[in-house]
Symmetry: D2
Subunit: 157 residues, 4 copies
């Protein structure tokens, strides 16, 4: 038969573990928040702010298919949508300076250590001269963004 001592020890252990978990910033642990600064594996910077189901922000790309394709400062506005669960799905689009545009779809995941990652797939649509060139005008790829800070802190404020 199990002794009461065991039960007490077990309860203390459980409470302690719960406490430890709570200490790791519970708000962070509860919900993956897309608002803030994100950095892709290639060095592109994505700044997002969510307002209800909508996201807005700025994309600063590290790569271009051709010089100048992404425009002045390689920056463009971001507009999209985000769900409201603990690890919400997200989709957003960007219009580049020369008229091509990109969309990303993905999901915000909480990392075991308390950080956040945005795992996405994207399509990049170039402007075809005519519908005959439509077939070759969409590129496809993968981007993983790591959360690097709140929008405020990234600005230096």
């Amino acid at each position: 038969m199990k002794s009461p001592v065991f039960c007490v020890c077990f309860c203390v252990f459980v409470l302690g573990a719960a406490q430890l978990f709570t200490d790791q910033d519970p708000k962070q642990a509860m919900r993956c928040n897309v608002t803030g600064q994100w950095k892709s594996e290639q060095g592109s910077m994505l700044q997002l702010t969510s307002t209800g189901p909508e996201v807005r922000g700025v994309y600063h790309t590290a790569v271009e298919t051709a010089f100048g394709a992404s425009g002045h400062n390689r920056e463009s506005k971001v507009v999209g949508v985000v769900g409201d669960g603990p690890q919400p799905a997200v989709a957003f689009s960007v219009l580049w300076a020369k008229g091509s545009c990109s969309s990303w779809v993905g999901q915000c995941f909480l990392l075991p250590g308390g950080g956040q990652v945005l795992k996405t797939l994207w399509m990049l649509r170039s402007v075809a001269e005519s519908s005959l060139d439509n077939w070759e005008s969409t590129r496809l790829g993968e981007d993983q963004f790591i959360f690097v800070g709140n929008v405020g802190s990234a600005d230096g404020h």
Copy 2:
């Protein structure tokens, strides 16, 4: 030296050609305008309004991956971007009721007969329970939308 006769002939020719071109409904011929009602091959309805580089609207889907996935009335808001050329590229996103979201990228093409078509590819992102299920959470497909009328006329009849 070129004779005045040549100059006059040339001017007449140019004016005549411009006139011919004008007769083919110049507004329609000049630019593929995404504002209006679009219908996909599967019967989904897409209503778009562009304001500068941004598009907004409503998507009424004809299909769902599971009953109720796309929500009340199967309708959701659309938000995205559009270029400004004669046949602009476009990208837009939708958040569905159960938290999944879709993005389309494509281009607005003028049809020889005066109509418009939106040739797109899309990704549909489902919500993965954890990052272990991330790999299987993105679907891919193709949609072609035919322009079926202006927003006003679609609403009023």
Copy 3:
């Protein structure tokens, strides 16, 4: 109680219905067979022969991303796999002359009128100079192939 007359009538009806069904070319109606000649909406020709779960054949493309990219006669060997159901899924790959390669995945569907269609999505992989260019090296699109005849008849025999 049901009368024997009813039973006999029912049996005759069932046999008659089966006969009607058989009259509609049963082999065609039973299984979508990928072996034969297929033509894409863009005019590319795909000749396939399935042997068990494998398919082989020849792809003659109507389009190229750059002149000569698809090689001599714009033709390349096809190798892939096919399932064994009535409307099997299929996946196949082609290596182009300049080292890029394509894969299609899709499914063979029987059309109500007795024909066959292969609905596919494809990826086209170009050779990146280095892994830094990897992100922009995959294109994406859609192809629909209509069955245009058996391999033998396409050859003129």
Copy 4:
């Protein structure tokens, strides 16, 4: 006129540079060879053997969309194509036990440290009951495979 001293110096330099390059395992440095055992980030194992422009092998998947979908031992044959440059593009397909099939396209890259990586994007095609369900039957994702050994050594231990 150039002095003989210059010529000698130049030759020594060239030979020395060639020697340096040779020291970095020339076979490895010259060509990314797809033949061998590869492991994906998710733990799937891919065994490939190239014969000219064709590749064959076995895929042992670590993940399934539904229990049993990938079949006995979760293993299936691989068939595809590979280019012949130093860092060749590759495309290959697999038929799963329940009739779905996958294709990967990607490229074999040499890593600075002497290893090899296969960067790929894939599509997974499920069997749709009818063409009405075709739209939702293709999944999309990304796989990165690290070279883990030659086929022989993988078999022998």
